[in-house]
């Protein structure tokens, strides 16, 4: 029991420590694909360190929401990281606190506060970006729901640990259409929720076209550091759910020994790097969609889920 | 053996038409000769059949066989094919410019292939092959519909091919489901005759689903509302002899396949399925009657009349009584002959007045007596005036319906037929009589066109008054093969 709490804390530490590294790797890889040199992979650490040592400038017209939001955006992914399988494939101490649906809601809470904070300061670019973020968000909600429903049809539960077991026990289950199609839909969700191409350009500086980046525009100093770090952690957490539950549910520690758990850390990093290669390939070969075409993109994700659900229903009846 | 020859001749003539001779007259004459031979052969086959005997090719009975209804359709296809080829000689010669002989050759090649596919439909007995033959009737006539290469005719050809292929794909699902039903209940050859005997064992849900898919799928090709939108366009934009073939017999072959389904379902609780037929038929008759009133192009007028008659035949089949089937079969015969005659006269009108619009044609009877009188006869006949054959057919259907007690259905049917009658007669009267609007320079009607009009008029005029015995036997056989 004490062990489980200990492993949970290790899990949390892993998420906090390694998420900026993942961001650094993505940035570097994208630049390398474009034949440039790119920043060092440790650059996000340096950025966060630098930002913590700077002064904060806060607008006088803003309210407590603006001051409170960076903390929310920082702690929400930490919450979710307690619930999901990062290192182990058996449930840890806090695992039953909320299921994937609850995790999704917690992340949505952070997004909600970020939107409010962007509107709070009175900067014209803030609400523009915030409204676009909300549009992508509300289009992504039905997809989230249907993904979870399909998954719960299959596994009989929405706790990630239990769901993960269903895909690996008979290996043939891996190829079930409800699995493959849900994977596809979740991939499109990750692209939308994290503001990657084709939904948004994460390295763009043009405020009129920003969707996700706009939430951090007004923050400075410690608030900016927390928002940045929180963004990295959110990405890490979503990738964990994607990889550890859906795509590659192997390589997690199955017994209680500390060494196995520590061994799982480089394994999860390795899986993430593989996925990042795929992600960079997708990003480098597509162009950013026009704003109203994003509805078509999310519509396609929704349809994929619906097809998965239907096929699962067909198989259940049989 | 004769069946093979019937199918082989158009194929040969098609190949013959490809030979680049200096003058395309060779292919035209070869086509006429081939069509005449086919007609004579099928006449022998059809009228020489003893009741109940099935004509077949011994070793290939599961692929080729015929019975009453298919012999009737075969006879009609070959007759209209013959008259159409005769009409084409003058029509194509007049409408295609002299230096485009290869266009004329292409026309005859496609004509022969089209005729071949239509001849194959009643002769084949494997249902999957029948589906393929019906698809081929569409595909081989697409470029005939678009022959004139104007944007309108190409649009008509596009809608034709897309809508009918959609229907065919639906019908394919129906065929596959039917096969599955047969397979479940014991299997056997997938032929019409076997299905008739095996159908009591097939679970009803299979028959119902397959029937609905057949009705919607092949109904698209037969021009049933609401899938009829391609019909007025395609049947008016094609060259007139092709229109005669399309309206007269191609829709009939599609309807033949639907009607062939009836014996399979007559045993089971038939009320639901015959209700479908009645409803679809009535809707087709009603919609086409109302749409007919506002046409501006006389060929579209006749095309809508085709939809109307297909609806009437379906209603007759839906009555599911012996007299109903007899009426349906008679109307199939009457409609094919009369409609092709109407389109021949429409083609002659087009040649004489060079316009498609009703409002531009006046006093046709003075411009060209032959054309005017044939248009008058055709209009009267197809609208359902006595003493023509179509009137007799409609009357017997109405009588059969009244005997069955379907007063509502028959009342609506009579009402719609009345509207269509008025619509057609009004337009035809305006065209035939009256002052000649702009005389201009007229070339006389080509000899072959005039000859065709006279040849085709004979059955139209006579059949209403007198049906020869052998033909009567054939009709009886056909009606019998529709029932159980």
């Amino acid at each position: 029991m004490g062990e489980k709490i200990f492993f949970n804390l290790i899990q949390l530490l892993v998420v906090m420590v390694f998420s900026p590294l993942i961001k650094g790797i993505i940035d570097r890889l994208k630049e390398m694909v474009q034949s440039k040199r790119g920043p060092s992979i440790l650059q996000p650490y340096r950025d966060i360190w630098k930002l913590f040592h700077k002064d904060e400038v806060v607008s006088e017209q803003s309210s407590w929401i603006f001051r409170f939001t960076p903390y929310v955006c920082f702690t929400a992914p930490m919450f979710v990281s307690l619930l999901i399988p990062v290192l182990t494939d058996y449930p840890l101490f806090f695992a039953f606190m909320a299921d994937m649906l609850g995790g999704g809601f917690v992340l949505a809470l952070a997004g909600f506060f970020a939107t409010l904070a962007a509107v709070d300061t009175g900067n014209p670019y803030g609400p523009m970006g915030a409204s676009r973020t909300r549009m992508v968000g509300f289009l992504a909600e039905p997809v989230f729901m249907i993904v979870f429903f399909t998954v719960s049809f299959v596994a009989g539960s929405t706790i990630p640990y239990i769901v993960q077991k269903v895909w690996i026990t008979p290996l043939a289950n891996f190829f079930e259409p409800s699995h493959v199609l849900v994977m596809l839909a979740f991939l499109m969700l990750i692209l939308a929720e994290n503001g990657r191409i084709p939904v948004d350009n994460p390295s763009g500086h043009f405020e009129l076209a920003m969707i996700d980046e706009s939430k951090g525009l007004e923050c400075s100093g410690r608030a900016a550091a927390l928002m940045k770090w929180g963004g990295c952690m959110k990405f890490f957490v979503l990738l964990c759910i994607f990889l550890n539950v859906l795509v590659t549910p192997w390589g997690l520690a199955s017994s209680g020994s500390v060494w196995e758990v520590l061994l799982a850390v480089p394994l999860i990093l390795f899986k993430m790097i593989l996925f990042i290669v795929v992600l960079v390939m997708i990003e480098s070969s597509l162009a950013k969609l026009r704003l109203y075409r994003i509805t078509e993109f999310m519509g396609a994700a929704f349809i994929t889920c619906v097809a998965a659900l239907l096929l699962q229903l067909l198989e259940i009846q049989g | 053996m004769a069946l093979f020859v019937i199918l082989l001749i158009p194929l040969l003539v098609a190949g013959l038409s490809m030979i680049p001779t200096k003058n395309a007259k060779v292919s035209a004459r070869a086509t006429i000769l081939g069509a005449a031979t086919v007609f004579v052969l099928s006449l022998f086959l059809a009228l020489g059949t003893a009741p109940g005997k099935q004509v077949g090719v011994p070793a290939f009975t599961s692929w080729f066989s015929t019975d009453g209804l298919s012999l009737l359709v075969l006879l009609l296809v070959s007759f209209v094919g013959f008259t159409a080829s005769l009409f084409s000689l003058g029509y194509v010669g007049r409408t295609v410019p002299e230096n485009h002989q290869d266009r004329i050759r292409r026309y005859y090649r496609r004509f022969n292939l089209f005729l071949l596919s239509m001849l194959a439909v009643p002769l084949l007995s494997q249902i999957a092959m029948v589906w393929i033959a019906v698809e081929l009737t569409t595909l081989l006539s697409v470029f005939l519909v678009g022959f004139e290469n104007t944007p309108e005719s190409l649009e008509a050809a596009w809608k034709y091919v897309v809508l009918t292929c959609m229907g065919a794909a639906l019908a394919l699902m129906g065929v596959l489901i039917l096969y599955w039903g047969l397979f479940i209940s014991g299997g056997g050859e997938f032929t019409w005759s076997l299905l008739k005997t095996a159908s009591p064992k097939i679970p009803p849900v299979f028959l119902t689903t397959a029937f609905i898919l057949f009705l919607v799928g092949f109904g698209t090709k037969a021009g049933l509302v609401p899938l009829h939108t391609w019909l007025p366009d395609a049947h008016s934009q094609a060259p007139s002899p092709i229109c005669a073939l399309l309206s007269g017999v191609e829709t009939t072959t599609a309807l033949y396949v639907i009607l062939r389904f009836l014996p399979m379902v007559s045993g089971s609780p038939e009320s639901a399925l015959s209700t479908w037929l009645l409803v679809f038929g009535l809707i087709s008759v009603g919609v086409s009657a109302f749409l007919l009133i506002q046409v501006k192009d006389y060929k579209r007028l006749f095309a809508y009349s085709t939809i109307e008659h297909m609806g009437i035949i379906l209603v007759a089949a839906g009555l599911s009584s012996g007299t109903g089937y007899a009426g349906a079969v008679y109307l199939i015969l009457a409609h094919a002959l009369t409609k092709s005659f109407c389109f021949f006269s429409a083609g002659a009108t087009l040649l004489v007045t060079k316009t498609r619009e009703i409002s531009s044609v006046r006093g046709l009877i003075r411009l060209s007596p032959v054309t005017g009188s044939s248009l008058m006869i055709g209009g009267l006949a197809i609208a359902g005036a006595p003493p023509f054959a179509v009137f007799l057919g409609e009357f017997s259907i109405i009588r059969a319906g009244l005997a069955q007690g379907q007063y509502g259905v028959i009342g609506a049917l009579a009402f719609f037929i009345g509207i269509a009658f008025c619509g057609i007669m009004y337009q035809v009267n305006r065209m035939v009589f009256g002052k000649v609007s702009n005389p201009g320079e007229q070339l006389p009607l080509p000899m072959s066109c005039a000859a065709t009009l006279i040849v085709a008029a004979v059955p139209v005029l006579l059949l209403g008054l007198f049906v020869p015995d052998s033909l009567y036997d054939l009709l009886r056989l056909a009606a019998l093969s529709l029932g159980r």
């Binding site: 043939a172 190829f175 079930e176 259409p177 409800s178 493959v180 199609l181 509805t295 078509e296 519509g299 396609a300 929704f302 349809i303 994929t304 619906v306 097809a307 239907l310 096929l311 229903l313 067909l314 198989e315 009846q317 049989g318 | 999957a128 092959m129 393929i132 698809e135 081929l136 595909l139 470029f143 678009g146 290469n149 104007t150 944007p151 309108e152 190409l154 649009e155 008509a156 050809a157 596009w158 091919v161 897309v162 292929c165 959609m166 794909a169 639906l170 394919l172 699902m173 596959l176 489901i177 096969y179 599955w180 397979f183 479940i184 679970p203 849900v205 299979f206 689903t209 366009d233 008016s236």
Partner: protein
């Protein structure tokens, strides 16, 4: 093995959705190739499970005719038009189209449900609804799309759907029929392709959905 076949079915429906909603015309053609490959794969799996050479031959025919020959032919006949085009608008906007298409898939399932009661074979339970959905989605694609090639691909999708259902429920139709049906689909592609080229030459566009000169007015 049933899961693998079900995966083929799921991806099949996905390609049908793509043909309804994808804007790039060349992309739709590639989706059609993928769809035919999935059909061949499903026939292959069914043949392996039921140990029927017949189905292997059908898989081979589908592979050669539908996945290779027809796309190659269409590409050659229409390459001049294809490279210039990306469909700008449809009859409905794409998102609504996709949602209606999802509804159609559900309807297809309900249509074949009474038939499925009689079936116990797990392959039929997947292939028949997926095939019926393919037929309905193809018909929907023809109705909604305005360009010539996507309409043709809609028709070919319908035929693919019928085949997908057919390989499970009517797996021992005489081989001659299967060959003739495949040949027939080839002729459809040729005829419509040539007609599209002619329309492009005469009318100047392949936007056939807006050709509406023949009306009563």
């Amino acid at each position: 093995m049933t899961q693998f076949n079900a995966l083929m079915g799921g991806l099949f429906i996905l390609t049908a959705f793509g043909i309804v909603g994808l804007r790039q015309i060349l992309g739709s053609l590639r989706l059609f190739v993928a769809q035919s490959l999935l059909l061949a794969a499903s026939a292959f799996i069914l043949g392996a499970t039921h140990a029927s050479v017949h189905l292997f031959v059908v898989a081979g025919i589908v592979l050669v005719v539908k996945a290779f020959f027809i796309p190659w032919l269409l590409y050659r006949v229409l390459s001049h038009e294809l490279h210039a085009k990306r469909e700008i608008e449809q009859a409905l906007d794409v998102t609504t189209s996709l949602l209606l298409a999802a509804g159609l898939t559900v309807i297809a399932y309900f249509l074949v449900n009474p038939l499925l009661i009689a079936a116990s074979d797990p392959f039929i339970r997947i292939n028949l609804p997926v095939g019926m959905a393919g037929v309905l989605l193809g018909a929907y694609a023809v109705a909604v799309r305005r360009e010539a090639l996507p309409q043709l691909l809609g028709i070919l999708t319908m035929e693919n759907g019928a085949f997908f259902a057919g390989i499970s429920i009517a797996s021992d139709l005489p081989l001659l029929t299967e060959l003739a049906a495949a040949f027939d689909v080839l002729i459809i592609a040729v005829v419509v392709g040539l007609l599209t080229r002619r329309i492009h030459k005469q009318v100047g566009t392949t936007l056939v959905g807006v050709m509406a000169r023949l009306k009563e007015e």
